[in-house]
């Protein structure tokens, strides 16, 4: 694993979910730096602010007020300088068709929010490990699709 921390950004309007997410990463033994934003508008401001380092991977909740996760996904995919960020949809369970649709729109990972903390930790660790392989092992990012 890298010596430089893996930069992680979560956009989620639910305070409890943000807390669990942060705690999970505190307990995972991988060097990460987690940043949090509260909704889609904040997310886009964060990404467009040149003062912020871009995340390696963005976790995106779908149901957010002001600007939904899908709206953010579509905007991000239109902006060339954001194209290298891996996008993980982090949402409550959806139908296979909905999941497929987010992949078609450019998401790389789809995570159904698990109900217990240990499962969450395991899933997040798995995503970061695989993401690291895509960052370093020269895998084709166009084929980076993962559903958990």
């Amino acid at each position: 694993m890298p010596t430089e921390p893996i930069r992680i950004l979560l956009a989620d309007d639910d305070e409890d979910d943000r807390l669990f997410f942060k705690e999970a990463f505190d307990e995972i033994k991988i060097n990460t730096k987690v940043s949090l934003v509260n909704d889609g508008v904040e997310l886009m401001n964060y990404l467009l602010d040149k003062g912020n380092q871009l995340p390696h991977i963005l976790f995106l909740d779908l149901n957010m007020p002001r600007k939904t996760g899908i709206d953010c996904l579509l905007e991000i995919k239109q902006l060339a300088f954001l194209k290298d960020i891996a996008i993980a949809i982090y949402s409550t369970s959806a139908s296979d068709m909905d999941i497929e649709e987010t992949f078609v729109q450019g998401a790389n990972v789809y995570i159904k929010k698990p109900s217990d903390f240990n499962t969450l930790k395991k899933i997040l660790e798995q995503v970061i490990t695989i993401n690291w392989q895509y960052q370093t092992s020269g895998l084709n990012r166009d084929n980076y699709l993962l559903s958990l």
């Binding site: 992949f103 392989q133 084709n140 166009d142 084929n143 699709l145 993962l146």
Partner: protein
């Protein structure tokens, strides 16, 4: 010290004869007096070789006749147990996992060309049946090979209409 070496370019040399650990220590001390430090990267070099060999193995046109471990062991002239230990130490993942990941990547690449059937792909990648292939693909990516193919094809159509 009399050491034969070849200059390999930026900050890298290859030493002609293997050095004893005393020799290595002496070289290190001598170089230190010039402010030069030897970076021990033997393990990461071995890991890179393992990765390269796995990628080569997975991308071969013909089916493998030996086991993965026997193939790696023979190609790299090291016991598999040792290779496996070093690999896990450096990458935090196992050789088996890395092979599985690379095989899945190869499968994705073959699926996305739309030229082969899943049965043909399963055969090429040494799977005993197409069902086993589909199951493993699903267990690693969370999506079926058919769903993967649909998504990739839809993305292509979208980028075509956007142009």
């Amino acid at each position: 010290m009399q050491i034969q070496y070849t200059y390999l370019g930026f900050a890298e040399i290859e030493i002609g004869d293997a050095l004893s650990s005393e020799g290595m220590n002496e070289l290190n001390t001598n170089l230190n007096s010039y402010g030069i430090e030897i970076v021990e990267t033997q393990k990461s070099i071995l890991v890179q070789k393992i990765k390269d060999t796995i990628i080569e193995m997975v991308n071969m046109e013909e089916r493998l006749t030996t086991s993965n471990s026997a193939y790696l062991s023979e190609k790299l002239k090291q016991r598999y147990g040792y290779l496996s230990l070093v690999f896990t130490e450096v990458t935090y993942t196992s050789i088996e996992n890395f092979i599985l990941l690379q095989k899945t990547e190869r499968a994705k690449q073959l699926i996305s060309t739309n030229e082969l059937t899943f049965t043909e792909i399963a055969y090429m990648l040494n799977y005993s049946s197409v069902a086993y292939f589909s199951n493993q693909f699903k267990s690693i990516t969370g999506i079926t090979p058919s769903a993967f193919q649909r998504i990739i094809n839809k993305r292509r159509e979208m980028s075509k209409t956007n142009e």
